[in-house]
């Protein structure tokens, strides 16, 4: 599933480790999501959307 997490993180001047700490996962998990190698759970997807104050579908594109 394609996502723009890396762009949003860069725009917020956050490191992967910083974002990981905010949503209680490891830095490796954020890296895997950004590279499209791991699709997060609904819970984590909502946590990321909540952090960036947007909807889940604004970050993740299920059609890709």
């Amino acid at each position: 599933m394609r996502n723009d997490l890396a762009d949003r993180r860069d725009a917020s001047s956050l490191s992967q480790a910083d974002l990981a700490a905010e949503v209680d996962v490891s830095r490796q998990t954020i890296n895997a999501i950004e590279r499209g190698r791991y699709d997060p759970s609904l819970e984590l997807a909502f946590a990321l959307a909540d952090y960036f104050d947007c909807a889940v579908e604004d970050i993740f594109d299920p059609d890709e």
Partner: protein, 137 residues
Amino acid sequence: MTPDHPIQRGQRYNRIIMVVFAVGVLAFFVGMAVDQTLAGLVVYAVAGLTGVAALLYLRFVSSAQLADERDRRLHERTSGTVVGIFAYVGLPVVIGLYLLDGFTSYTISSTIWGAIYAYAALFLTWGAVYTVYRYRS
């Protein structure tokens, strides 16, 4: 992420425990190689039990987080793959051994019977755990 974040602490502790396990296994084989089997076994036992105790403490008592959702999914995929390998490779082997034992002069040894019982126990356990999860879900 600060070094004190529960996930980072969990990853650090996990690495230390894996090193402890590795030291134990290494000591076991080195002990055998240098004819100090008992000493190697003692180090192996202490390292193994210490590692298990530490893992139990971290999992049930400590605030450190040993795994996140991706780790858990990796573990699930790994377990599924291993069980699949055992099922699709192991079952034909066991059936083949039964056939050899029944129709040729080959006799299944007590060691092989032990392996077959362990194999059966693995899948009986899997079935029991699966049944519990299925009824709870």
